[in-house]
């Protein structure tokens, strides 16, 4: 097995609050891994640490950089540099570019790979024109994939909620990432949309060869697509394993029963 991401003894403190205690986590290439846990367990914080929004208090994050075919330490790197290395994410509360079109949102996902210089792009040299055309082609391909090619010019936030979630995933995909982090992608979706989303996540994993780390509260979705599950509670890792193992793990059952009657 070869990992794409390794978290080693990650600890994240905010003042007196320890949001994450000593977290170890591995994601294998092309694997779908889930992080679950009650509210406030530290799941989003883990994402924020991986993507560079927070620098962990201690511990290390190693990422397999396909360009160098070697691991690099990405602990505390700036978010845009981490994104450039191939880690893309979505947010728990959707963060689309509200005043920009659906198409622009996807094009922005590709900006990271733009080769033309600032002045080259503005003077519209043929080289830039080619790049822009390619970006638009790929963007339309992605939009058609989620069936909203006809809404390319619409305001991103004018779309229905479920579509906005998918659009945000596709914006992340547009940067051609190697690792995709999805923070509660099924939040606010009905059971049918959730079932569709499960298929969609598996599809993009196969088609675009990305590894997926996802946070979810929808257990049926997790049980269906996750190949490995990490369970956090109050910032501590209380269990890790295959879906069947997690389902019957007494510590997990206790944490969930203690937290909510769900």
């Amino acid at each position: 097995m070869s990992n794409i991401l390794e978290l080693r003894n990650i600890k994240m403190q905010f003042g007196g609050v320890t949001a994450i205690h000593d977290l170890n986590l591995n994601i294998e290439k092309n694997q779908i891994v889930a992080v679950i846990g009650p509210n406030g367990a530290g799941k989003t914080t883990a994402f924020n640490v991986i993507t560079g929004i927070y620098t962990p208090t201690s511990g290390h994050i190693r990422y397999f950089d396909a360009c160098n075919s070697d691991f690099t330490d990405i602990t505390g790197l700036r978010p845009d540099k981490i994104a450039r290395l191939g880690i893309a994410r979505t947010f728990q509360n959707i963060r689309l570019f509200a005043e920009q079109s659906v198409l622009d949102n996807i094009l922005l996902g590709q900006h990271v790979h733009l080769k033309s210089s600032y002045l080259g792009a503005i003077s519209y040299f043929p080289h830039y024109w080619k790049e822009e055309k390619q970006m638009r082609g790929y963007a339309m391909e992605l939009l058609n994939e989620i069936g909203i090619g006809d809404y390319a010019d619409a305001d991103a936030v004018s779309l229905p909620y479920g579509i906005q979630r998918k659009l945000e995933i596709v914006r992340a995909l547009a940067s051609r990432p190697k690792l995709l982090l999805l923070d509660e992608p099924a939040a606010g979706m009905n059971p049918q949309e959730t079932a569709e989303l499960a298929g969609f996540i598996r599809e993009i994993r196969d088609k675009y060869e990305v590894s997926v780390l996802l946070i979810e509260h929808h257990m049926d979705l997790i049980m269906e697509i996750a190949e490995n599950i990490y369970v956090l509670d109050f910032g501590r890792l209380i269990a890790q394993g295959k879906p069947q193992e997690i389902q019957t793990d007494p510590a997990v059952i206790a944490a969930y029963l203690g937290a909510e009657e769900d």
């Binding site: 994104a83 509200a98 792009a121 822009e132 055309k133 914006r171």
Partner: protein, 375 residues
């Protein structure tokens, strides 16, 4: 979407509407050139009028400059005056002939290396813009390292520092006296060309991936950074471009007004530019130009307010600054009733102009219809 994917110049691939718009644009550029020609040769306005037109174009340019960093990229700047000051002084000092410099610096002689430096006006102007952009770069590096809105404070301080520096650098700037007898090199061709180039630049910029990224930063810094947009690099690009334009505007203005001194570049100048973009509408080129022209024309037309006037039997004494009261009222009205500015937050386009009568008719019908159903 389709109209942006076509490479400009491939007329054969354009739709009917695009060809019509191209024709309309070409015709208006020709009309504009004719207008500039008639203006410059004194067929339309006297020298005073020409000066007003020049100032309209220059203030529109500064409006665009501020809109680029503030309206489009979302970084609040209060430094327009400081940037214009650098552009004005650099351009003028480089373009003035050694003889004129000699007569100007009669109190304290000018530093030798500057005394003999004499460049053609265009070179001086561009260099003025470049040095202004360099100043923006130096401010931007520490400020953009911080998360949060520190640019306004930094640029406010920068503007004051520049002004005080220029008062005290006697051997370089001639201190508080400033520079006089600046040759009137700049005419409508210069200001017109500068504005048209700036507009073209902006249109191209915001159809490119870089312009999209600027807007994305305004929309949501977090999300922009998460998809790999370097905030530092893009804010610096926007800020330096904005400063370059303000520097060019300053250089042009110096030649149009003929005299510059540090007092010309007080904070109130930055506030005027802010007024222009709020009045016209932040985030649009159309708004910047509308705001710039309205501001300059109103400032001249309302000169009487400051000089005292009579309404019938009532005589209002001269109150300096009464004009600003008018502008404040205007600003309040705009903020209350036209939140997106006088341009309505939309960019000018032929389609909008041609569709305008239809839209007016529709909204009147809607109003009438609403009256019906309310009865």
């Amino acid at each position: 979407m389709t109209d942006k994917t076509i490479y400009p110049g491939l007329i054969g691939q354009m739709s009917k509407k695009q060809r019509r718009n191209l024709a309309l644009t070409s015709i208006s550029i020709l009309l504009l050139v004719a207008f500039f020609y008639l203006l410059q040769n004194g067929f339309l306005l006297d020298n005073y009028g020409i000066r007003i037109v020049n100032l309209c174009l220059i203030y529109s340019l500064v409006g665009i400059s501020l809109n680029l960093i503030q309206g489009y990229t979302g970084q609040f700047s209060l430094g327009s005056a400081g940037f214009m000051a650098i552009g004005a002084y650099v351009t003028t000092l480089l373009a003035l002939s050694p003889e004129v410099k000699d007569t100007l610096f009669y109190l304290d002689p000018i530093v030798p290396w500057l005394a003999d430096l004499h460049l053609p006006f265009l070179a001086a102007l561009v260099l003025g813009g470049v040095l202004t952009a360099a100043a923006a770069f130096l401010i931007g590096i520490p400020v953009f390292r911080l998360k949060g809105d520190y640019l306004s404070v930094a640029t406010l301080g920068f503007s004051e520092i520049i002004r005080i520096l220029f008062v005290n650098l006697q051997n370089v700037t001639n201190g508080a006296t400033g520079l006089k007898n600046i040759p009137a090199t700049v005419n409508v061709w210069w200001t017109g060309t500068a504005l048209i180039l700036a507009v073209l630049f902006m249109v191209r910029l915001f159809r490119s991936s870089y312009g999209r990224s600027f807007k994305a930063i305004r929309n949501d810094e977090f999300a922009a950074e998460a998809i790999g947009i370097s905030l530092m690099r893009h804010k610096l690009l926007a800020f330096c471009t904005s400063a370059f334009m303000a520097g060019i505007a300053g250089g042009l203005m110096a030649s149009v007004v003929g005299t510059i001194n540090p007092a010309l570049f007080r904070q109130s100048l930055s506030n005027d530019i802010l007024l222009i973009i709020v009045l016209g509408g932040t985030g649009t080129i159309t708004g910047s130009i509308l705001g710039g022209c309205i501001f300059i024309i109103a400032r001249e037309a309302l000169r009487f307010l400051d000089n005292g006037f009579a309404i019938g039997p009532v005589t209002v004494p001269a109150i300096a600054g009464l004009r600003m009261v008018f502008f404040s009222l205007l600003l309040m009205i705009v903020v209350l009733f036209f939140q997106k500015g006088l341009a309505g937050g939309k960019e000018f386009s032929w389609d909008r102009l041609i569709g305008f009568p239809g839209r007016v008719r529709k909204s009147i019908q809607r109003l009438l219809h609403r009256g019906d159903t309310n009865e």
